[in-house]
């Protein structure tokens, strides 16, 4: 059996990779995928802890998070479509009318 520590470290790496993607990537679609990666890091952490404790609660919680991620993607993509209609771009740097 894989030790829990490995699972947790892998989950942390996933989370950090997602965070780096959010900060560095300029394409909005990739940025949203990176957020999903962060959430999957969280899911893996929960599942790792649940396995170590021998209970199902972590798994149940991670299903909630999967549902939340789906809802989040729906709203985010809808807003992105609204932006794309007026600007024809998905580059984060070009979406900046307001700066004071």
């Amino acid at each position: 059996m894989v030790p829990t520590g490995y699972v947790l470290v892998l989950a942390a790496v996933l989370f950090l990779l997602g965070l780096v993607g959010v900060v560095l990537r300029r394409n909005v679609i990739i940025v949203m995928m990176s957020v999903e990666l962060m959430l999957n890091g969280v899911n893996m952490t929960l599942i790792g802890f649940a396995r170590a404790r021998g209970e199902m609660f972590g798994q149940a919680f991670s299903f909630m998070i999967i549902a939340l991620a789906a809802a989040e993607a729906a709203v985010g993509l809808a807003i992105l479509v609204a932006i794309f209609r007026t600007r024809r771009t998905v580059n984060v740097d070009e979406i900046s009318l307001m700066r004071h």
Partner: protein, 493 residues
């Protein structure tokens, strides 16, 4: 963990469920009856009033807190019921303003009000949460609806951009929040707040708990716009349709602080809060000073009234953090904090109602130059705005004065030098803030406008201005009744 569903629990959930169902009905009505100019706001208000009656009924019949609803997921205590009432009243006032505003700016109405109701149901879930899972679901229900509301202005680039920025940063904040919760679950084996409160003081020094708590704190700081997590606030507040901005500044902030009080002040015992022990209080002290000072200094140089009020709301989050510290040290002081939340929410809703009122189709009129000479053409509205700005600044005889007075009095009751410094910094900040609160007043009263403003003429906006200015005066001259209610609204009470 055993789980058995008790049908009687649904009675307590009724106001939340009702709002959710009502939101779907509003959507359905707009799908059948067309999207524009049909006053779905009135339908939404009817739903809010009915839900509010349910909340009022459970406040009146409340004998003891119910903590074990849905296997501990939901808590019904007077603290949560009091905040429910704030959300519902803020929702009604917002719907009244929006009714006129949306018609003027050609929104499709059905979705707007449905999202408003859904976000309120999310807020209610959030403050009723007895478990971190429930808290996250409430927070996301609220946030997703608010992201969509911010971006809901059809054809406006700024609105979509504001919504997107808010969404993206909010999504990252949620990921941090969830990671923090996962770490707490890993160390303690539970996400139930009551059970966590029992074990967390003994594990407060463990690195995973510390990291988890900091992640949760950062995410909550994002939601209530604390410095240094406030970067989204001015853009989102400026780009959003003005009624939504007012709703975010009043209700979303109240919900965020309600949840923060429940999570942080409820989780740690008073010992963990005192200066010099594990030192949670020091973190809040620094956050509070940073938030109010940077909020106020940034507001000083704004010529856009909407943006200025956005920074002002950041500064007020700083004052409210004093309240979080106070409640952490002594939970019985909750009344002063909740009174501040009420006074701030009413005043902000009024101020943003004036900002929504002054714009006409495709012209927002939010810079100071646009406000020149308003007092000459519309003396009553100018007077109301002056009242709101005085209240935000904390001058008597307005609600803001007593709110600050009771909050600072509660903070000084601990007789510690750190609290004294905190209050002194807050008072210095209030004095500085008067400068930028006076600027719109000077613009309205002492400058000549090039052209007369063509504001919204619908009566619903004037209703809101009348109600909020009356409340600001009543809270400012006879605060006792509200204060007595707020004092009953204890966590677990």
């Amino acid at each position: 963990m055993s789980f058995s569903l008790n049908p009687a629990d649904f009675v307590h959930l009724a106001p939340v469920l009702f709002l959710t169902v009502w939101a779907c009905l509003v959507l359905l009505a707009s799908a059948i009856g067309g999207g524009h100019g049909r006053h779905y706001g009135l339908l939404a208000i009817l739903g809010l009033i009915l839900s509010g009656l349910g909340v009022a009924l459970s406040w009146v019949q409340h004998v003891q807190p119910a903590t074990d609803l849905f296997a501990g997921m939901m808590v019904v205590d007077r603290f949560a019921l009091f905040l429910d009432m704030i959300f519902i009243i803020a929702g009604i006032l917002t719907a009244l303003v929006a009714d006129a505003y949306l018609e003027e700016h050609r929104f499709t109405e059905g979705e707007f009000f449905a999202l408003l109701l859904l976000s309120i149901s999310g807020m209610m879930m959030m403050v009723h949460a007895g478990d971190l899972v429930m808290f996250v679901i409430g927070l996301e229900t609220m946030s997703l609806a608010i992201y969509a509301l911010v971006a809901s202005w059809p054809g406006q680039r700024r609105s979509a951009e504001a919504g997107f920025k808010y969404f993206l940063m909010g999504a990252v904040a949620s990921a941090f929040l969830l990671y923090g919760i996962a770490l707490l679950y890993g160390v303690t084996g539970t996400t139930n707040l009551a059970k966590l409160a029992g074990v967390i003081n003994g594990k407060a020094g463990e690195p995973l708990v510390l990291v988890g708590m900091f992640m949760i704190l950062g995410a909550m700081g994002f939601k209530v716009a604390l410095v240094p997590f406030h970067m989204w606030t001015p853009d989102a507040y400026e780009g959003a349709p003005t009624p939504v901005t007012g709703f975010m500044a009043a209700a979303v902030k109240a919900a965020g602080f309600g949840a923060l009080l429940r999570l942080v002040a409820g989780l740690f015992s008073a010992d963990a809060w005192t200066f010099g022990s594990t030192g949670w209080i020091n973190i809040f002290w620094v956050l509070s000073v940073l938030t109010m000072t940077i909020g106020n200094i940034s507001a000083l140089r704004q010529n856009n009234v909407k943006r200025m009020l956005a920074y002002s709301s950041i500064a007020h989050a700083g004052y409210l953090l004093i309240g979080v510290v106070v409640v952490g040290l002594d939970p019985s002081q909750m009344g002063a904090v909740l009174f501040y939340v009420v006074a701030y929410a009413v005043t902000t809703l009024g101020a943003f109602a004036v900002v929504a009122w002054i714009g006409s189709r495709d012209v927002e009129r939010t810079t100071l130059e646009d406000w020149y000479g308003v007092a000459k053409h519309h003396p009553a509205v100018a007077l109301a705005m002056m009242l709101f700005l005085f209240s935000l600044g904390g001058l008597p005889p307005t609600a803001g004065f007593f709110a600050k007075f009771y909050l600072f009095k509660a903070a000084l009751s601990f007789d510690s030098p750190q609290m004294l410094t905190l209050v002194l910094i807050a008072i210095a900040n209030s004095v500085v803030s008067m400068y930028y609160y006076l600027r719109p007043i000077v613009a309205m009263y002492f400058r000549e406008g090039a052209s007369a403003p063509k504001p919204l003429t619908s009566f619903s906006v004037y209703w809101v201005l009348g109600i909020t200015s009356a409340l600001v005066l009543i809270l400012g001259m006879a605060p006792d009744a509200t204060l007595a209610w707020a004092a009953q609204a204890l966590m677990g009470g």
